[in-house]
């Protein structure tokens, strides 16, 4: 019975245990991807379609038809019961429980249909206005820029500072090296959530409240990054550095032209981590960024969903645009990311 949990060796035939395994995985795929797909699908629906209950799978919109003699287009219905069952008509107006309808082919004849006997004719229509509206009615681009700026600036500085420190710790012998290394690693034990209050004091005394740098500076010295890079740099042979020194390279040149390029795989992992951390960060920005013009995307989403009248159509579109960059990065670098994380054991 537990066979599906054990290693299957490369046999040709699929047996019972394989089907159980596939069943579990299939369920997992639906559970993991389903919600995201549902969100993406919903983001293309009009506000009216979003309010509809029970919800339809596809973004459907009512269809209209131009009829001679009417100034506005008329909505199309299919009659499902009663006298005119099977015909497709256009509705002129609704009177109580009855709808006055006409056949677009024969606009002079008025027909009366009970409203429960007709169904709107609908077709798939992508509500792209949900997305375009983000740019015209909401400051989406501003939030996007704020998030991008913080992510890019913090990532560059993180990679630079952490790799410099890692280089010193991996490739120099000096008194106090072990102490410094332990001091840095010890900060792994002190998650930023523990020092919120005093950190707020430091940042506010530096006059950084409501500046993107309030998010960037405290984030860039990561013990994880230093550790990750140091471990990688230890594998670069010292001979290579000595050869460069014999080749007249200054220490800075050794670092920049030899050690950094050779650490590229570890740097890439750190870049991905850093982008993920900064793009997704929430609590600290929530504390130090209080004005909407400095909001990151995450903050904008949060404040938006907290409003009394949530306009789901815009909110969903904004959510999709927020998860899109990370999704694209993942789609292209999937193997690399999963390997990097499995090897380094950090998130």
């Amino acid at each position: 019975m537990f066979g599906f949990l054990t290693l299957r060796r490369g046999r040709d035939r699929l047996d019972m245990t394989d089907w159980i395994a596939f069943g579990f995985l299939g369920f997992g795929v639906v559970l993991m991807l389903g919600p995201v797909l549902w969100l993406a699908l919903s983001s293309f629906k009009t506000e009216a379609a979003l309010q509809e209950y029970p919800p339809k799978l596809l973004p459907l919109a009512p269809q209209f038809v131009e009829v001679e003699g009417f100034e506005t287009a008329l909505q199309r219905f299919r009659v499902v019961a009663g006298e005119h069952a099977g015909r497709e008509l256009a509705q002129v107006r609704r009177v109580g429980l009855n709808a006055q309808m006409i056949d677009p082919a024969n606009p002079d004849e008025r027909l009366n249909v009970h409203i429960n006997d007709r169904e709107p004719v609908r077709a798939v229509r992508i509500a792209s206005e949900n997305y375009t509206g983000l740019f015209t009615r909401f400051n989406f681009l501003l939030y996007f820029w704020n998030s991008t700026f913080i992510t890019v600036a913090a990532t560059i500085l993180t990679v630079l500072f952490n790799s410099m420190a890692a280089f010193a710790l991996a490739k120099y012998r000096f008194t106090g090296r072990t102490a410094v290394f332990l001091l840095i690693i010890a900060t792994l034990m002190i998650p930023p959530t523990v020092t919120l209050v005093p950190l707020f004091l430091v940042v506010s005394q530096m006059g950084l409240i409501n500046s993107p740098w309030a998010v960037i500076w405290p984030a860039i010295a990561t013990p994880t990054g230093v550790f990750l890079l140091r471990q990688y740099m230890l594998t670069i042979p010292d001979d290579l550095l000595d050869a460069a020194r014999m080749d007249n390279a200054s220490e800075w040149r050794v670092y920049w032209k030899i050690v950094l390029p050779l650490s590229a795989p570890a740097l890439a992992v750190l870049i991905i981590f850093s982008v993920m951390w900064r793009w997704n960060e929430f609590l600290w920005p929530l504390i130090v960024l209080n004005r909407s013009e400095v909001f990151t995307l995450q903050l904008a989403l949060n404040s938006f969903q907290g409003e009394l009248q949530t306009a789901w159509s815009s909110l969903l579109a904004m959510t999709v645009l927020t998860l899109l960059p990370i999704t694209l990065v993942f789609a292209f670098l999937q193997k690399f990311i999963t390997q990097g994380i499995a090897q380094s054991g950090v998130k």
Binding site: P237, D239, D242, A243, A244, R245, M246, D247, R253
Partner: protein, 370 residues
Amino acid sequence: MAEVELRGIVKEYGAVRVVHGVDLTIEDGTFCVFVGPSGCGKSTLLRMIAGLEDISGGDLLIGGERVNDQRAAERGLAMVFQTYALYPHMSVRQNLAFGLENIRMPKSEIAARVDEAARMLKLEPYLDRKPRALSGGQRQRVAIGRAVVREPKVFLFDEPLSNLDAELRVSMRGEIAALHRRVGNTMIYVTHDQVEAMTMADKIVVLRDGRIEQAGAPIDLYNRPVNTFVAGFIGSPRMNFLPCKVTGHDADGLTLQDAQGRPLRAAVDGRTVGEGDTVELGIRPEHMHPDPEGYPVQVENVEQLGGESYLYVRTETGVALTAHLSGQTGLARGGRAFLAIRPEFAHVFRKDGTALPRLRLGELEGDTRT
């Protein structure tokens, strides 16, 4: 072009002294080989000359100038590393050019030097490849080329051939020797392989435990090892040692007796030892050959290589000896044999390991084989 002089060079790691006051002069244009077992300090010494390790004490002079406090790059040296230390992310051309770019040499001159080195080392077809796409021998040549383009005062080699297979090693040995003939610079070469030392060096420096045991021309070290360590280290297979007692000496040398009381003669100056002293008689495998009048031994193993043969034998007192004979032999495993130990080939070492001066070396030059 420069002379390298070491005066009382000392290296300490904390309280541990690993190089104990080395004095050495390497004349301009010399190919000097540091040889010794691993851990003898030869690489440390080389790295101190290179400027990659701090010098704890003593003076290092290159071209008559004290360079202790100069950085590696300022000393005008180039080094070939055991691991080659090629920059894996750069093409061969970039590897060769890196050091020249660092001193902001004009591009045209860099190109000229790189092309010349590539031609000399037959690297032209590979200039745009990355090191990982090269064979071991090609990588080795790039590493040498990287030193050549710098036109250094002194070339340093740190066991450069130890990662190559035997055949390649022989041919690279020839190439490095040819390079030395062509450029004529001082070269310092570290190896643990005494064959490399013997074949390439103008001057061999044998090191042990951070001290120089002996320095000199290869053939001198072979003929006049100053102690049992050098005697055992230089020459392959290693020298045989037979414990003996001094029974008398005259103008022609010493009379000795092995543990069984069998008499032996050695043409050495025996004035500094007295009768009854314990000494060791040394005889190289290639200097023993079958002789009905010789020393009786038991044959334990025979290796016939066709053109030469090795006899592994044991004396009656249980001492294992090796004999290297030219040509083929009729001796068989398990049989008895008699090996000549001629006085003019014998070395004698005092109890403390130091050698007695040999007397009849002049007769043997050019005729060490019988």
